[in-house]
């Protein structure tokens, strides 16, 4: 079914399309430059030049590895909510809040009507897509997660903040599609935090994507899926990207009880581990997925963004992933 949608969009992807969740590690010189920029020691233009260089590096690396659907690697942004909150109208940078140990972050505050400021991600997407013939995903954070990761001084409740965000994020989706994006990933890592709010998280996704011609993927990280499954299948997207490497067996067992009705991106690499998985381990994870879902509905990727790994680790992990996928592909095509 979604294969047909991909075809209609002009995308011809191999069996078990491979992709990544979004972020890649920043090369050391870029990380240093970001610090210097924050201290006003270099100009925006100098920083951007390094961001572009790093993006080129990652596009080339993804092509060398053989990934099918590419990302820009998010070399130009840090936190996935703060990045949008800094650009969108209606937000202010909030005060410092601790996340763990001695780590603090500025949690954004919604202080007025949220407003789409014009294209936020389109120029990076366009620039990256021009570097490759492979499809590059448009990457956004979903309305529920932006709401949950922000303070709300303006809207009467969480639901109205979430729905207002959805209406504005939709404009960015439209702009990406207009620029030519055919696959758009809308991340909702917070989606499972409050089970009772899932209905309006779904309503918000409807407002964001309904009627728009793209193949939509939603990535959600480690969360208590058992609490929102099978209801989460109501999310109006084509593909759900779930971490399988850590919680694999449980998740697939749940699918046996309530069939999974969408395409599934199987997160088969543990991004929080330095250890490079072997192709055999990865293969076993993919085969577990194939046992509960037809293979033409499965995509393969890491279980989250790779930004916490090193450049070398990221590359080695993805190469092992592609080795495993190629083996399975060739077995599938050689047996009638």
């Amino acid at each position: 079914m979604s294969r047909q949608k991909l075809k209609r969009l002009g995308l011809d992807l191999p069996l078990l399309p491979t992709s990544t969740v979004g972020s890649f590690p920043k090369p050391p010189e870029l990380a240093q430059a970001r610090t210097k920029y924050a201290r006003k020691q270099i100009t925006k233009r100098e920083l951007e030049a390094l961001e572009k260089k790093a993006t080129e590096f990652w596009v080339q690396t993804q092509e060398e590895i053989g990934l099918d659907v590419l990302v820009d690697g998010e070399q130009y942004r840090g936190d996935m909510v703060a990045h949008f909150a800094e650009i969108m109208g209606g937000f202010q940078t909030g005060g410092l809040v601790r996340s763990y140990g001695n780590r603090y972050y500025h949690k954004p505050v919604i202080v007025g009507e949220v407003r789409w400021p014009g294209p936020m991600t389109v120029s990076w997407w366009r620039w990256t897509q021009a570097l490759t013939a492979k499809p590059v995903k448009g990457m956004l954070t979903g309305p529920y997660t932006v709401m949950d990761w922000s303070f709300n001084d303006h809207y009467p409740d969480r639901k109205s903040a979430c729905l207002a965000l959805a209406r504005e994020i939709r404009k960015e989706v439209e702009a990406l599609i207009e620029a030519g994006a055919k696959i758009i990933q809308i991340d909702e890592p917070a989606i499972s935090v409050r089970q009772e709010e899932l209905p309006f998280a779904i309503e918000a996704m409807h407002l964001t994507v309904d009627g728009l011609p793209a193949y939509f993927i939603t990535h959600a990280c480690y969360g208590a899926f058992e609490t929102i499954y099978p209801d989460m299948l109501e999310l109006p997207v084509d593909n759900l990207d779930l971490a399988i490497s850590n919680s694999a067996l449980d998740l697939l067992k749940i699918f046996e009880k309530n069939p999974f009705t969408k395409d599934l991106s199987l997160g088969v690499l543990d991004v929080h581990s330095h250890k490079i998985e072997t192709p055999a381990e990865i293969s076993a994870r993919i085969m577990r997925g194939i046992r509960v879902l037809p293979p033409d509905r499965i995509w393969v990727d890491p279980d989250c963004g790779l930004k916490t790994r090193t450049v070398e680790e990221s590359r080695a992990k993805l190469e092992a992933m592609l080795t495993a996928v190629r083996q399975i592909r060739s077995q599938r095509t050689s047996t009638p």
């Binding site: 005060g95 410092l96 809040v97 601790r98 996340s99 763990y100 140990g101 949950d148 303070f151 709300n152």
Partner: protein, 328 residues
Amino acid sequence: MELILTTAGSYPRIGDAADLQRHRQAYAQRERGEMSEEAFQKVEDETTAQVIREQIEAGIELVTDGQIRWYDPFSHFARGLEGVEINGLLRLFDTNLYFRQPVVKGRVRRQRPILLREYEFARSVSSRPVKPVLTGPYTLARGSVLGGGYGSVHALAVAYAGILAEEARDLARAGATLIQLDEPAILHHPEDLNVLQEALALLAAARGTARLALHTSFGDVTPLYRDLHALPVDVLGLDFTYSPKLPALIADAGAEKALALGVIDARNTKLETAEQVFPVLDAVLPALKARHAYLTPSCGLEFLPRERARQKLETMRQLRDAYLGGRS
């Protein structure tokens, strides 16, 4: 009706102002080996004294030490135990705060009092009574990796409760009159109420002259509200932010126990107004059997920026005064 102003646990360690960076800088210096453990403890002492002063200035009548020394609600206590190791980071309920998970490897035992020194210090710098806040035995067990011969959450909760009972005894002897136990995990596992009951009984037997307050947060308490009254505690602390129907339920069911009303949202910056809070008090207060109740933020204040945490407390006091003033 007396409405006592209290806080529910944590308090932000740093603020955005330049003079409120001390704790963070010292922490970094200690991590780099540029500051001794002793010197860092002194910074923790100063920060504790500062956040107690801030609470008192904002009008709080029963303060906490702000849990300045706590890495998180789980590992701080677990670090003081034999038989427990500390694991990687996990998300704390539905928050963006991460905790390190205790991993039980052997029989759990405390070598010496864990929270006593912290309480004694807080008391020594506070002109108002101090309420120690502990993560309860059931929630601690739920957040731990089982092992060391403890085959169930039940067994581990009872073991933790034995140690927390000793902690409660020490704290009561040192002068604590109200001890708060945080048990958010029970909201997600109502089937374990009997486990919680058994674990709390150990604390109740050891509390001496102190009263016990059970505080739930990070979830809707309404389905469990009536059952919580059967637990061997004196005060129930309730997070109203998840439970729009809670005021009506209390109005209907009444309250045998004293209540701590968590009507100030400690997870969002928006400041509460009389239009929001007064109707809740109107519904709840007439149903209470006790002649006093507590007003409190819905949970620890560490989820807010420092400046806003203080404003939340000031707002709570203004609302309390206006409410009582309008009614006397």
